[in-house]
Each structure stands twice: as structure tokens, then as C-alpha cells.
Amino acid sequence: MDATIEFTTKTTPPTIASAAADLRAGAITSAALTATMFERIDAAELLGAFVCLTRESAMRAAEAADADFAAGVDRGPLQGIPLAVKDIISTADAPTTANSRVLAPDWGGGIDAPVVTRLRAAGAVIVGKSTTSEFACGLPDPDKGFPVPRNPWNPEHSAGGSSSGTGVAVAAGLVLGGLGTDTGGSVRFPAALNGHTGLKVTYGRVPKNGVVPLGFTLDSIGPMARSAEDCALLLDVMAGADAGDASSARIDVPVYSTSIDRGLEGVRVGVPKPYFFDADGLDLEVRDAVLAAIDLLGAGGAVVSSTTVEHAKLAKEANAITMVAEAFAYHRRDLATRWTDYGRHTRMTLGRGALFSAADYAQAQRFRSAFRSHLAELFAEYDVLVTPTWPVPAPRIDSMASEDNVTGPSFCGQWNLAGLPAIAVPCGFSSAGLPVSMQIVGKPFAEATVLGVAHAYQQITDWHRHVPPDLAATS
């Protein structure tokens, strides 16, 4: 067997599901697949997807996976699959930096976060720590010495954030999947801009101990991969309570990967037109692509109707206030003593926490209660809501400012505020050739439903299978 696997960006890199089948059929080995991933990572260094690579431990894990296959030991579909872990999640074989000069070098204690432990126990191969916006907020600051993540569809454009590196790596076929975290859209934003699938899970679905916190009551760890099916395979392993995280939910975990073939027939789809489809700043190409995707859901048997999410703009703002207030509580001491050690965009975002009062934070939680009650009523009529994931295709990196998330629309933070699951699904391209994404939102712990609708859409479209132009030649 060849030492590496022949695929180029002219062909779609394998999915987790297809690689799992090939591994079991003996068509490929994990060692060859992992070696191929490292070759592609090296060739695509300009994309800034990784802070640190764990070549030795990854190759050892790949060889162990192959040995297990040879011995008839099968730990499930992730066995031998190369994955990326966002660099705010603790791992035993690499430091956790949060892409910051502020975080203590020994943060995490050199042990795997529970979610990483679960992936390794399932036989996954962790190839490295992927780039994040500093402390999962802000924008890249090239002066701080960390890689600047770039969009594989056009490296002058943003890769989104904060789970930028995992998003880039999945889209460019540098890994088959990975972990991101989401406090106001940080799994879905990069998934949307880079053109792959990303799931923000229900608050508490995946334990988040071992993760550098941003917003204690908003944070979640989510799977990022090419397809909804792959996200389901990841979530099968990631989900479930952990004693070390009091906020993790003691609620049964279904087998997501076997419950997504439910089709679209009779699925009640709500389309909240006000704000989500008419906000100032919403790109018309994005709007039209998402509306076309919704038409396909209807043609597939879904029952589609328009609705309204009350106070959608205020919910986005309440999420932002909650996030910066909670983050400021964590960072205040360091911001006061090490202001310029933070990146230029990060400190401007975190510093806003000083501008809100304790009453503002409390009132945001009262609003949160009202908003959740409203959504509970809405979800009595609908199985899912569908919106654009992000209002614009990837902007140029040099056009972005930390104030953008104050002034511009956002369609993601509402669901963090309410704690609901939401998945970003590729649904087309802009005229400039940049990915466009729709978002499917469900009830608490209805990940199987949103994954099922996304999977059904991906059975009748192939947007998620598009791959960026070959960047190896330009590196």
C-alpha cells in the first residue's frame, strides 16, 4: 500500500463516513491517511490553520488504530480518523495557548479535556491544535506571533472565527473533522465562511471542562466536519455528561448517526422573515441562496411557512452583553495589568465588559427568560427554524474591525442566548466564489432533528462536497 493516499483538491477529500468504510475494507490505512493529512497541512501552511502539530503522537495513534483493525478491534467510526482540536481545549500532548500571550503556559495541566479523552478512546487521531481567535473572541493580531487563519477559497478573505483553524482545516481537506467552540457563533461562523458543516450543540450537551471559558452560560463545544453525517458521527462520541462539568446535562444521548435518515416529509420549517431576511447589512446573494435552499426543503416534503422571532435583534445584543460581561469577569485582572499583551482586537472586545453594569447583566438574563419562553411557544408550531448563518460571505481580512459585531446584524447569538442547537450548512456560493450557508435551529437537545434536516438537504445537494482551489501550488 502507498505511504500516502492520492487525492487532490480536484477530488473531494474523504468524509469521516467514507474513510471509516475504506479503513474497514482495508482500502486505506490510518497511517497513510494521517501522513497524507500532514502533507496537505504542510503544503497549505499559508492558511494558518494550526498553532501546533502533534506529528509523533498522531502517527502513533494512527498506527495503533491500524493495529487494532488488524487484531479485529473496532472502536467505532472515528477509529483512525485524523481530527483537529481548537487551541482553547486542553490536550495532553500539546500546550493550550488560546492563541494568547496572556494565558498561563501550563494552563490545562497537560491533560486531555473530557471531550478529547472521548475522541481518543474512540480511536481518533489528533493531528494538532487549530488556530482560534484569541480567547475565542476578537480578530487575529499578526503582531502577537500566532498564525493568521485565511479563507481557503480566497486567502485575502477571513476564515471567520473563533474556531477558525478547524474551519479552514476541514474545508481545505487538512483533516476530516474537528472540534470548535461556540459562544455567539464561533462554530457556525467559520463553517459558513469556509463552506462546510458545523453544529452548535444545546448548552450542556457536551461537557466543556478543560476549555478556556469565554461566556460561562453560553459556551459549547461543537463538531465541525464536511457533512452533517460526519458531525453526527463526532457527536455520538462527544455528547454526554461529565462529573467535572456541573453544567453538562444528565440527559440521555441518542445515537445521532443512526437517527438522521428521517427525511423531510412533514418536517415543519419556520422561516423567520423579519430581521433574519431583511436586516440592514444582509447580503442579497446570501438571502437568495438561503431562500432557494428553503424551497428545496419544501420540494422535499417539508411544510414551510413564514414566522417571526420576536426581539431577534435585541436577543443578539443580550447575548453579546452576557458574553462580554462573563468574559470580563474572567479577564479583568489581566486586562488591568497586561492590556497590551492581549491582541489589539481582543482587548477592545473584552474591555467593553467594563462598560456594562451589574444590573445590565441581570436584565439581560431576565430578557433571556422572556426570549426563551417566546421560542418555546414558537417551537410548539415548528420542528426547526431556518435562517442565513452569517449575513455576508467572507469579508476581506483587512476590512474587519472589532466594532463590527456591535454594529452589524448577527443570526447566531440568539441561539446561544436560548441554549438551542443550530447547524450551519453550505447552500451555495456568492458571485465572488465564496461560500454561503444556511442555519437550521431546533429545540433543546433536538440535535438529531437539525442534523436530520441538514443531512436530508445534503442528500439532494452537493454544496458541502465542493473543495477550494488547490492552494499547494501557491504556498
Binding site: 445584543e317 482587548r347 477592545m348 474591555g351 467593553r352 467594563a354 438574563q365 431576565r366 422572556a370
Partner: protein, 70 residues
């Protein structure tokens, strides 16, 4: 700028300066200027949460008093 608007702008600038001082944050003048420019929007967003329709709503978060006890 009329006098009321000018007074409000001055009050906002004063509030930002004082809030950062209380928090112990020191930053470049250019950064302080940017914070002052965005502050009116941040304040308006927070003030909108105090709308009368949310006055009777319960706090949105609960806690489990048994956590940490065996």
C-alpha cells in the same frame, strides 16, 4: 451639534473614562476614542433590555444548590 447632544456626548465620554478608571484599565488615547465612539450604541442596546414588557419576567438562569454536596 445642539447643546443637548453636546451635553450627552460629553456625559458619555465622561462615563467611559470613569468606568475604565474604576476597572483599572488603561489604554492608548486612540483606543479610548474608539470605545467612546461605540459606547452610545452599547448603552442603547443595554437600555433596550429595560423595556416595560420585560419588567415582570423572572431571572433567566437557575442554579442547583445541591452541586458540590455529596
Amino acid at each position: 451639534m445642539d447643546s443637548t447632544t453636546a451635553d450627552e456626548a460629553a456625559a458619555d465620554r465622561d462615563a467611559v473614562t470613569r468606568l475604565f478608571a474604576v476597572a483599572g484599565l488603561t489604554m492608548a488615547d486612540s483606543e479610548l476614542e474608539r470605545m467612546m465612539r461605540v459606547y452610545p450604541q452599547l448603552r442603547a442596546q443595554a437600555d433596550a433590555l429595560y423595556a416595560a414588557e420585560f419588567a415582570g419576567v423572572d431571572f433567566g438562569l437557575a442554579f442547583d444548590p445541591t452541586i458540590g454536596f455529596n
